[in-house]
Symmetry: C2
Subunit: 145 residues, 2 copies
DNA sequence: ATCATTTCCTTAACATGTTAATTGTTGCTA
DNA sequence: TAGCAACAATTAACATGTTAAGGAAATGAT
């Protein structure tokens, strides 16, 4: 018997898009007050958590492609949220660092963000929430890094 | 005690992005042979499954925003994948229908797509796969429609 | 019938996603 | 050391995501 593609009502890619939309909607709403985008928020989060780092690590940890990151960094530099400096030894490389202004956005909005996340945890239940993260990790080819 | 935002390593939004990337990567690779995008594939899937429909239903079912859909439909019309016609009664509305050329793409690639999906089902296990879809649906505010 | 409102769709403007081509550096090696 | 492969980052080109504004047609109230 031929194996049919699942109905769009039960499609994994579409389910992932919709879940992401459901999760990001309140976060985007929160971020609109700060004037930064969801991707810029991710960059700030990573830099805040790990400190100064090279672009490659930043791209990996914030799940952004290089061309996107190039533009985002340029925007964020203009806004004074990050600084950029070349590596003196290997001048192809550069390092990105969060500024006090950038850190301030993270610090001010983290409580609200945490509250939103807590809401989803409550919606799903603690156990389901952890299960979901585990299952999602299984779909990420780079999860075991 | 202050509730801290989770590490970016255990962030739900980032996990959703990465899982989506993991799932879409082989699908995009498959689609590159057809010259259509992932979103255009979704539109064709929906039209193929449900037949001719108005733009609003199409947007809902393919999880696309109206401005995106407007552009995508224009592109797909130029490619001869869909046709567009106004509603004679309510002339604000229009209906979109898949063409034989569009249908051919779906028919030719569905076996490959099904194979990719089956791979993920196998990776997760049938039970986990269903659990994942259920959990993702819980994060979709429009899931109970 | 008229006007404000609502609905459907399109445009506009900006940011990001995606792939491919390009530039500038470093390293290797013949 | 000249030349080439490999690497880091950028740029280009096109498509989509997202929010806001605009235009055309239908609806409802007066």
């Amino acid at each position: 018997m031929t194996k049919l593609i699942p109905s769009t009502r039960r499609s994994l890619p579409i389910a992932l898009i919709r879940a992401r939309e459901g999760v990001m909607s309140p976060i985007r709403e929160m971020l609109s007050e700060t004037g930064i985008t969801e991707q810029q928020w991710r960059v700030l989060r990573v830099l805040s958590e790990y400190g100064r780092m090279d672009t490659k690590s930043l791209a990996d940890r914030s799940s952004l492609l290089f061309p996107s990151l190039t533009r985002i960094i340029a925007t964020m530099r203009k806004k004074g949220l990050v600084t950029q400096m070349r590596d003196d030894i290997d001048r192809r490389r550069q390092f990105i660092e969060i500024t006090p202004d950038g850190k301030r956005i993270i610090d001010e909005r983290t409580p609200h963000a945490a509250q939103i996340v807590a809401g989803f945890k409550e919606t799903l239940g603690e156990q389901n929430y952890e299960t979901l993260l585990d299952l999602l990790a299984m779909l990420d080819p780079g999860a075991h890094r």
